[in-house]
Symmetry: C2
Subunit: 280 residues, 2 copies
């Protein structure tokens, strides 16, 4: 007996939040204000039906299954826990269900989304507040914060989910993976496979390396690009042994800085690593 | 949208292991030798199919569904994580599925088990090593450690799961609840409902109170009744403010003492509390 694909995705979300230290994020040893560890546990359990729909080769369009996952995730009092992680997992889980998790297959699934996927995506914003960047002025009708109210405009322009996400690829790290072939979660999976020790320790090292390599876009959206770049530099100092990772974790939580996109990318990496047979 | 009954059970298992301090047990801040936090996460995810079968009013006999849950739980490298918790949850989950979680209904389900339930229970021991007491000499054929090899004897004597469990009620805290009306998990649920703060903090206070009230039978099986009684006294000191609960947690882990039955009872209490509407 082995875990199903949906169970691997669920476990990936749980391992992500358990991974510590994961500077700035909720982890096994740190809450983040009113956003607490147990909200991520409840968010994961709530998302499980949507994950099963994603893992069903004959399931609904991935945007529709994603909305179901987000709806379930939101059934806890902490707010947004794993919106970005689920958005990243959606094409990866469906790819695994359709015969194997290759970059090519995930890319084809992302590119093959249609207007119903886009509608599901917009509806998902009805269930939870998600911090997003302001849209360009001429895009106001398609602002994701409009939620279902944007659906007529989405249908009228016959936009696919890929089209919608592509418009954020310049400033959103999840969108960048969707349109760029999922390179970073795949690299994270390789790092997790290659390292030694308990899986959450390997994931913690991988997280720090990811945060040290590229500025976190969620930090950039909330605090500006300069802050995101400075967090990247501080993560590099921690990765290179000039600062203790736990000290950086305490500092970022105290500063209210939350590199949530890098955590979402790690969840994707953990999912791929589990599918490739990494043991827990 | 709210969590399904199976999802409440899954979340109860996750909240149980996240609850800290939970002296002597794996919790959010402590591993226990090679038995680590992430093994409980994987154990919970693996158990989810079995929990769904338990939560299906038309599902298989609860002993059969229990075996499925244990098989999935065992798909991680830490060993036994939640065997006792799942055994306690089995009648509670089925009771919730059959129209409401009352003590009467749970008791009727336990008493109404048959030989197929008992067969499932014995088979569950094939999947994982569980620390149990030696059986009386005349009971050797029914030693649970025989696993499937005991099934012919179980069938020949037409034993129900209730019959089998009743024989352990003098020395096993889960068996005591099965045959005693599930009083302690129900009391735990009330305590969790009544207290204030994040649900895992309420659960931690409840755990300490339970450990201070009755000797843990898993400690008694592994270390003898005197040690179990001394752990109870030390828990009472922590509960009454004479010792820091975190200090007791460090001590018990260092001594290799693991009050696992009390943790299982807490998981049952968390499940009941979630079903009654306690928010996460």
């Amino acid at each position: 007996m082995t875990r199903t694909i949906a169970q691997q995705a669920e476990l990936a979300l749980l391992l992500e939040v358990a991974t510590t230290p994961k500077p700035g994020n909720v982890d096994r040893h740190r809450d983040h204000g009113d956003l607490r560890f147990e909200h991520f546990l409840a968010g994961t359990v709530g998302a499980s039906d949507g994950l099963r729909a994603l893992a069903d080769p004959d399931g609904p369009p991935i945007g529709v299954a994603f909305e179901r996952a987000v709806e379930g995730m939101s059934d806890q009092s902490g707010g947004n826990t794993q919106f970005g992680g689920l958005l990243l997992l959606a094409p990866l889980v469906r790819a695994a269900a359709l015969g194997g998790l290759t970059p090519d297959r995930a890319r084809r699934i992302a590119e093959g989304t249609g207007v119903e996927d886009a509608v599901g995506f917009y509806r998902a914003f009805e269930h939870v507040d998600v911090a997003v960047a302001d849209p360009p002025e001429d895009m106001d009708a398609l602002d994701v914060r409009r939620g279902s109210d944007a659906v007529p405009a989405v249908r009228q322009r016959n936009l696919s989910l890929y089209d919608v996400i592509e418009r954020s690829a310049d400033h959103d790290g999840i969108a960048r993976e969707w349109t760029g072939g999922f390179e970073r979660p795949l690299e994270a999976a390789e790092a997790i496979e290659t390292r030694d020790g308990p899986v959450t320790d390997r994931a913690a090292e991988t997280f720090l390396d990811m945060l040290a390599t590229e500025p976190d876009t969620f930090v950039a959206i909330n605090h500006g690009e300069e802050v995101a770049e400075s967090v990247r530099e501080r993560a590099a100092a921690a990765r290179d042994g000039r600062v203790k990772p736990d000290a950086l974790a305490e500092e970022l939580v105290a500063e209210g800085i939350n590199p949530g996109t890098t955590a979402d990318l790690l969840a994707g990496g953990l999912f791929v690593a589990l599918c490739r047979g990494v043991e827990v």
